[in-house]
Each structure stands twice: as structure tokens, then as C-alpha cells.
Amino acid sequence: MHLPCPCCGPRDLREFTHKGADDYLRRPAPDAPPEAWDDYLHTRANPAGRTRDLWYHDPCGTWIAVTRDTVTHAVIGATGLEDAQ
């Protein structure tokens, strides 16, 4: 699997650290109810098929959101995180 880093181009999987689903982009307000934090931290759509998740490119320090297929491992695209939000 290669992932496209907006900064460095397509790079080998070994250079990336996986964070998790893009739910991590929707951080609740500090005073949000516990259910909102539970949802943010734990509950996942966990799709078999197209998903969007967050990766960190270790060499250049860019966070990216990758759109890919969890069944075929096909990578559809990626954006840098400032743009992704």
C-alpha cells in the first residue's frame, strides 16, 4: 500500500503512522456531555468499503486524511489536514 502525501507524493506505508477514523476531527467542546465524548473516542461507523481515516507522515510531519477502501485496500485520495477539516 502506498499513500499519497500532499507534501512528498506517493510514499510507502512504512513511513506512516495510523491514527484512526476521521471521527477524531470532530472533537467535542470541553463542556460537551459524556455521550458526545464517548461517541468521539469510541463509537465508530467501521464501514466495510469506503472510509476516511487519519495518518501521520513521519518524515515530513504532515497529518493527512486518506479516503480508501477497507475491503480492497485501494487508496482513493488524500488531503492535508488543514484542508481536510
Binding site: 464517548d38 469510541h42 467501521n46 466495510a48 477497507t70 480492497t72 485496500h73
Partner: protein, 416 residues
Amino acid sequence: MRFNALRVLKEGLTGNRGWRPHWRKPAPKPEYDMLIIGGGGHGLATAWYLARNHGVTNIAVLEKGYLGGGNIGRNTTIVRANYFLPGNSEFYSHSLKLWEGLEADLNYNVMHSQRGLINLFHSDGQRDAFARRGNAMLAQGDDAILLGRDELRTLLPCLDYDQARFPIYGGLYHKRGGTARHDAVAWGYARAADARGVDLIENCEVTGITVNAGKVIGVTTSRGEIRARKVGIVTAGRSSQVATMAGLRLPIESHVLQAFVTEGLKPCLDHVVAFGMGHFYISQSDKGGLVFGGDLDFYASYAARGNLPTVEHVMEAGMTLMPMIGRAKVLRSWGGIMDMTPDGSPIIDRTPIDGLYLDAGWCYGGFKAVPASGWCMAHLMATDQPHPVARRFRLDRFATGELLDEEGTGSQHNLH
């Protein structure tokens, strides 16, 4: 069907024409008392203990493929009770005791082999941590022996003790740990449940769960509609999808875990060895193959195969630990879909929908859990009360904060 030496001899001499299938192939009835979705180890064990412990036999197990085709037939077969946290500790202890009586209970040879499991440690700090874990295991009523380097050397001469990165200081020896033949576990439970009248329905994919006024009333399947007022979701890596059919979102993310086996070798490894620092563990199968694996591929996946970086990492760790492994050829590698929870512990609980139960989140440790999980899920479905040893495996523990994070790695699905 029963096996014995005379029968094997007779069949061998007469062309093996007398063997019959272990279980019936019934067509689904329109209605059952209870349905189990998923014919893996946990689903089959649930059916067996419902019949055996609670006398509930008007039930069906619905399996989308063939029995034993999921993770139950893909794992590396390690059985152990070396957990630390209250909640996990008593559950896995109960499971190991059930393993010890399983063959007699099912009248089936599951090749349960208590060859001993050894977890290696590589520093003074790690030795202390293992001593503490060993004490917790003893306090639970199980067994643990802390071995120093010299004692370990006599048991495991083939390891490289003086590697630069992780010199081996010793190991925690869990004598009652070991392995079992994974397929036989599925077959044994299936045959026993079938003999009590449980319908095992293969090639029957559940495509919908019918809920009326907050109560489950049945399921839709590729083989028609089936009614039941109690339905258990026991679908391991596919739990999220099946739960979605009832409108539920689970605290689960599916990840791929790979494993490997070499060509058959003469006996050279008598125990299961876990090299946690290298993310590597290994045992030798009865056929002689070295069976080994490592960690997750770390990204969400439903492909029952992994990527090369993990293969490379596992091979490197194997070479570091026991250089002799480099002489053996790898025959096969494969992957299975793991239902990872954010704390690495499972869920056996009711759901917000009346009559709908969930047994999921087994991560990569669900094989050893099969007997106790079936036992506790059957108890839950039959009595509507959690079994005492599974009472902390609650679905709402993520919201209440009562997590069971055995490894203390935090709330992220791929870190356990």
C-alpha cells in the same frame, strides 16, 4: 459419529466410505425461540451451552458461509489465563477450566495441549511487572512461575539470549497455557449442539434485523425470514455491520491480523513463546510447522489479508529471537478480521433493543475465550442476567468510564 482405533482401521481398509457428516443440514424453520447470528467458535459455543446448561434447544445458528470458516479457523490457537485486571482475570480463568474439561464434555478430540506458555522479559522493570502479573494469576487460582535466564535456557535452548536490543532476562511460565486444534473446536461444538437438536444453518447470511416497538421479532436472511424473540449477534469482525442492521453503532473498529506457518520440522519448540517486545509469538503445531504471528497491521481493514510491512516486521522479530528460524521456509500466511474495542476487552451484554444481545470485541484473543464466552452468552440469553464472571464486559462501560484496558495503552482501537 464416533471415532475409535477399530473404526479408523476398518474404514482405512474399506476405502473410507462409511464416514458420515458430523451435523445435519436442516432448512431454516419459520420460527425459533432464539437465533444466534454467526457460526464461529463463539456462536457455536453459545448454542451448545444454551442446550446443555439451559435446556434451550429450539434454536438456530445462522452462518453466512460455512461453519468454522471465519476467525475460529484462522487463529494461532493459543489458550491461556494470564490476565491481570479484575473482570478479565476471572473470566479467562473460568474459560481455561472449561477447556480442561472440554474434550470429555463434547466427546471430541480438540487436541488441547497444555504445553505451557512462556512470556519473555528483557529488563529489571519488566521482570517486576511480570512478577506482579504472576502474583495476580496465582491470586486468581491459576498458575505462574517466574523463571530466570538459566532456568529458561534449559527449556528454550534455541533462543538468542544475548541479542543487543532485547537481551533475555527470563520469562513468566504459565504451565496450563498451551494450544488446541482450532477447527476441531468448531466441529466439536457443532456436532454436540446438533446432537441436542440445534439447527446449524450454513450459507445463510443475515441481511436485516426486524425490530418492532423497541423489541426484536426476527431477522431477514438470504434464505428467507426467520422469527425469534431473542437474537444474539456473535459475528466477530463483522459485528459493526450486523449491529447496523438494528440501527446500533458499536465501539468497534475492524482490523486485520496476520499469521504464518513454516514447513513441517522435527519437534524443536516444546512451548508457546511470546516475545512481546518484538511483537512476536510462536509455537510448533502437531504437524511440525512453526506457527507464528505478530501485531495488527494497525489500520482498519476488512481484507482477510495484510500488507508486506507487517510481514517484514514479524520475520525480523523472529530472526532476532531465534535465528534458527531463518532456515525454515514459510509455507503460508493469512489474515483474519479482528473486532477491536477501544480498551481491548470484549462485550457480552444486552443492547438497547429488547431481545437483542451482543457478544463481540474479542480482538485477537478470542480463541481461548470460546468456552467461557459461549457459557456466559448462553447464560445472558437464557436468564437475561449477566454471568458473574462476565459482568464487567458491558456495552456501556465506554460511556461510564469503567474500561478494562489490560495493556494500559489508551482509548484507541488499534493499540491493544
